[in-house]
Symmetry: C2
Subunit: 352 residues, 2 copies
């Protein structure tokens, strides 16, 4: 483990339970043989799963708890019931203790948001963390944030989101010089609100390490016009869920259309492989999950109904960001904006 990366997994969150989490780690291990996995969950369930995969078992530890945050718990309930003992709390706490470099959970987003913030605290200069998603585009992938950690975002929050998103595009997407856009609407003379205009001005005038493209519109997200799309958590959450809904609707149309005639049915059978690829790429946010940015530690949220391959993708993202030290990259950019003291808080926090 020395010098290596440890990922803490909340093995009890998510609709599919421990099996999907262990299965995901099993896939991730092949790509990242040097990473250590710390599973937080019910030992009685986890042990047989790990026994069946000796290679994974060799790089794993189990931290027993049988307290799980359920998908329907409100954040306040989750805190009351599971505080300091739930698998979700313990996984995040492993990052705070410095034992793990990132936490991954498929659990309840609301509870994960509140707990992550409570345990890891925001970085100096950040008062609102953001949930960032990786969005498939015509040019590859882009980072979109905030997709739901906050309801509103003021000018300074949007600027911070731009900095955090840009660091994520560099570390997770491997873009050396990401472009950043602010999500707005088109009509020239009513373009956006004061916070958007103010944030655009700061981003234009500050000497940050990235290319600020200006305003983009909803259709620019999937087009891949910029590598990082910055918006408030309300708009971002509506956008990502609307896109998911649209993808599902088109999938539905496609199935129906393909059943219409004998020719199209045969066509469907022949093109089956193509449809499979399509379906996998189609759902933004589903494959990779989201990442909480702006905290003193990395927390990756996988989809609640994440299967093995989604968990593996979330793990891959967590590992990439930990290996590339995203927290210090964000801190360095915040220092440009807020002054050098912004960097002070980003050392590994001491155990409580």
């Amino acid at each position: 483990m020395a010098g290596g990366i440890t990922i803490a997994l909340d093995a009890m969150g998510g609709d599919l339970g421990c099996a999907a989490v262990v299965g995901g780690a099993s896939i991730a291990r092949v790509r990242h043989p040097d990473v250590h996995y710390e599973f937080h969950g019910d030992r009685a369930l986890l042990e047989p799963l790990l026994d069946a995969d000796a290679l994974l078992k060799a790089v794993s530890t189990i931290h027993h708890t049988d307290v799980a945050v359920s998908m329907s718990d409100k954040p306040s309930q989750a805190l009351r019931m599971g505080r300091r003992v739930s698998s979700m709390w313990l996984a995040i706490d492993a990052v705070k203790q410095g034992r793990a470099q990132a936490a991954v959970s498929c659990g309840n987003t609301g509870a994960l948001t509140v707990m992550s913030r409570m345990i890891l605290k925001t970085m100096h200069g950040i008062d609102r963390p953001a949930l960032a998603a990786i969005w498939p585009t015509m040019r590859g992938e882009s980072v979109v944030l905030d997709v739901g950690a906050n309801v509103v975002a003021e000018q300074k929050n949007l600027v911070n989101f731009a900095i955090m998103g840009e660091a994520m595009a560099r570390t997770a997407l491997g873009q050396p010089h990401p472009t950043v856009g602010l999500l707005n609407i088109g009509a020239e003379e009513m373009k956006g609100n004061e916070d958007l205009k103010g944030a655009a001005q700061i981003l234009r005038e500050t000497d940050l390490n990235f290319d600020f493209h200006g305003f983009v519109e909803g259709n620019d997200i999937s087009k891949g016009t910029v590598d990082v799309v910055v918006t408030d958590g309300f708009t971002g959450n509506v956008a990502i869920k609307t896109a998911e809904g649209m993808a599902r609707l088109i999938g539905d149309y496609l199935s129906n259309a393909m059943r219409r005639s004998l020719a199209s049915r045969i066509g469907y059978l022949l093109a089956r492989g193509a449809f499979k690829v399509l379906r996998q790429r189609m759902d933004p946010g589903r494959s990779n999950g989201g990442v909480f940015l702006g905290l003193n530690g990395i927390v990756v949220k996988s989809h609640g109904s994440a299967n093995e391959s989604s968990v593996a993708a979330a793990l891959g993202l967590a590992i990439d960001m930990a290996q590339n030290d995203i927290i210090n990259k964000i801190a360095a950019d915040l220092a440009v904006l807020h002054g050098p003291e912004a960097q002070a808080d980003t050392k590994t926090p001491e155990p409580a």
Copy 2:
């Protein structure tokens, strides 16, 4: 014309010009033989097009102007240059004069928003008109508003949007008892802002003629969870453009996926008809355009790149709403909310 419906067409707006507008009217005429069409545009261009379609010519008049609002004009420019003489202004003014029951334009949205509001004025009790779109869903079609007439919406605006959208679902979609939802984000304890909460309370407590479903999320739009989705113009505009972008991305994936192997290429050829149907249904807002609601008159906006069939769809929508007297239906519901004086302003305005 007596007792019938007249639709005023801005024949100069839009990327495809007069030919698409006349072509659209030609298609609409077959379905609505009793409607009269008033074309505002360049007589030299319109006359030969109408000469080629004697049946359409018999129910049409041309009002000459060679001033067009261009797609790139800012609303203020459009007003300065084209005020009272542009084809867009004249088409809307025909509604104000009582000569036409609805105006249809494929032109510049910003200019159309500003001119419509300036010429027709808002209904009593409405201080912000809304742009409503018809959105394809798993259950058929829903109305989504505001998709971009305003940047912000207060509590009372959202309530009015609900009333207007519900009237549109009854008249344009033929839903006898539409359900209405307010677009929000999911996380329970941070659900929405004060305006959303306030609007929800009024809609729950007022004895309006429709079923208020409560909050819905982005993915509910395409799912068809409710018949009317109410949101502010910023969020709605981002949502519809994001969905359009997603549809285009999936179309792109589909074409690429279909070219991957010989089997999938043959499959594509066999299923071609199915793909055509899919493409037609895929783009929300593109086929029908949007409708400005809350004004003393009906203005339908077709997509800027609208072809004949899109113009025909926009005309069909305008005719449906004029025949079903949507303005008075909205006024009746506003009267429930604001008191009976709301109905006073809705008589056909007198010529200026």
